[in-house]
Amino acid sequence: MSKVTTMKQAIEAHVHDGDFVYIGGYICRPPFAAIHEIIRQRRKDLTITRSNATDDFDLLIGAGVVKRFIASFLSLGFYGLGRCYRRSIEKGIPHKIEVEEYSNLSLPMMLMAGAMGMPFVPVKDMVGTDMMKVKSFMGDGKYKVIDSPFDGTPTLLVPALNPDVGIIHVQQADENGNAQMWGIGGDCKHGANASKKVIVSCERIVSREVIGKDPSRTIVPGFKVAAVVEEPFGAHPGYTPGFYDVDFPFGSLYQQASNTVEGFEAFLEEWVFGLEDRAAYTQHYVERFGYAAFKGLQAGFDYGYPVSYSY
């Protein structure tokens, strides 16, 4: 039974106001088509999470759809601090989001725990620092310190996370949602598998037979997946290994735009609200920046070797 649908329908059906949403990617494979659709549908009060957040999370925060953020990091990297993130916390624009602080070790481990049905997981970081002193909406549930029952050592435990829905962008998936990925993984595999259901955005839908030619590449099995959406160029301005490069000029454009509230609103109008889907977005990209720029992002051909699973 095919789960293939449009992003509009996938978000309508599976992302609700107040949901806890895992969103995969970090420059590599951010599901921007889904993120734009969430904003377009004006969701509100979302709790969002992933380790290492960047322009995509900044955009969601600036657009006002976020209430809470289970965080390890948010910046625009090369382009400096996240403007919307700062405005939200420093000035309450559009509103002040609540942040629960973790690290790039603890947070991925909490997602791993969620994926694996563990109630909590011991980690060795965070102790002794002010990360322990700040607690937000998770309150006393942010962490616990116990004396290890094995050797008495003080041990920090952090809780498992199980988002209502996980959204990832991958290279390819079949119509049942078996999702295959290669290259930098971030916390995608655990984040998606920790979620109660998954929306898979992909560069291309392939047959079940193609999936079966290399099953070790699959990171999410079909039975966890609620919707599959083919969204070529769906991670732009991030990149997808083997498909297209990160768009540095666009990063600069976002930096400039998000410097002011007005600029940010205009950016949203131009790139989100004014376009109905990723196809329209891509057409607008080509019209605005020229086909040469679009073509310049397309990945080179540098294919590896096929393998056999035969016996």
Partner: protein
């Protein structure tokens, strides 16, 4: 002995100082820019078996352009292993395999604690910074941490506004009390004026060497705590010819390191 050309910029000197901290065979976790350049100089000079990894899940990348983030596309093709965060931060770092980590921050204090979370009060911040990312676990778990900082009384602090990443926390014994692994912690602060090393007893950063063009007095005056001066304090060795050659001709052919001059590392 070593030849020392005079035509270097301060960030180049700093990168070479970082490189000299690396021992052959070290496993080094790096961010983009300075750390990668510094560790790569070591790999191309005295420590050819240095192995670099990025927190995003990449081990032994072979980028054909300088990476601008730990998730940069150029880190993918040619790497020896690509997994996810639980591979590098879990299996390798928390597993105890990382010898050296490089960190920077908006504030660094005398115990090597780093703030990348907030300037001012946490609940009513003057400036909200990115947060920990990989910094806290690297500071907690890497065997030797090298910290890069601007040397002035705003970026160095007696005590940071917020300890995002543990150095020696409150001083001697604190890391042990919190159960952080033995033989871990910051080993060096590289600033644009000096190298500060941590006193084994007091765990305070002390002046080990001042860079050419600076002086003990200038460094002490630019440091917001009562900076102790090591008995064997001396001038920092300038970049060696082979270090500069590796840096400019093999590692950073586009002169990315000059960005650090614009950031004030002069």
């Amino acid at each position: 002995m070593h030849e020392h050309p005079n035509d270097y910029i301060k960030p180049e000197l700093m990168a070479c100082c970082g490189a000299r901290e690396i021992r052959d065979g070290d496993v080094v976790i790096v961010g983009t820019g300075f750390p990668t350049i510094s560790a790569s100089i070591a790999k191309h000079t005295h420590a050819p078996r240095t192995m670099l990894m990025q927190e995003s899940g990449v081990y032994d990348a072979r980028p054909r352009r300088p990476a601008l983030s730990v998730g940069d596309p150029c880190l993918n093709p040619g790497a020896a292993m690509i997994g996810g965060l639980t591979d590098v931060m879990g299996m390798f770092l928390q597993g105890g395999w990382v010898n050296v980590g490089f960190l920077a921050g908006s504030q660094v204090d005398k115990y090597g604690n780093i703030n990348t979370t907030v300037i001012g009060d946490y609940d009513r911040p003057k400036s909200r910074l990115p947060g920990s990312g990989g910094a806290n676990p690297i500071g907690a778990l890497a065997q030797r941490v090298i910290i890069i900082a601007l040397h002035n009384t705003r970026r160095l602090a007696e005590k940071v506004d917020f300890i995002t990443t543990p150095g020696y926390i409150d001083g001697p014994g604190t890391r042990e009390r919190w159960g952080l692994p033995k033989n871990t912690g910051p080993s060096l602060i590289i600033t644009n004026k000096a190298l500060l090393r941590f006193d084994p007893d007091s765990k305070e950063a002390c002046l080990a060497s001042y860079h050419p063009g600076s002086s003990i007095d200038e460094v002490v005056a630019s440091t917001p705590w009562d900076l102790k001066v090591a008995d064997d304090v001396h001038e920092t060795e300038p970049p060696r010819a082979e270090e500069l050659k590796a840096l400019r001709e093999r590692i950073d052919t586009i002169g990315l390191i000059k960005v650090y001059e614009q950031k004030g590392y002069v």
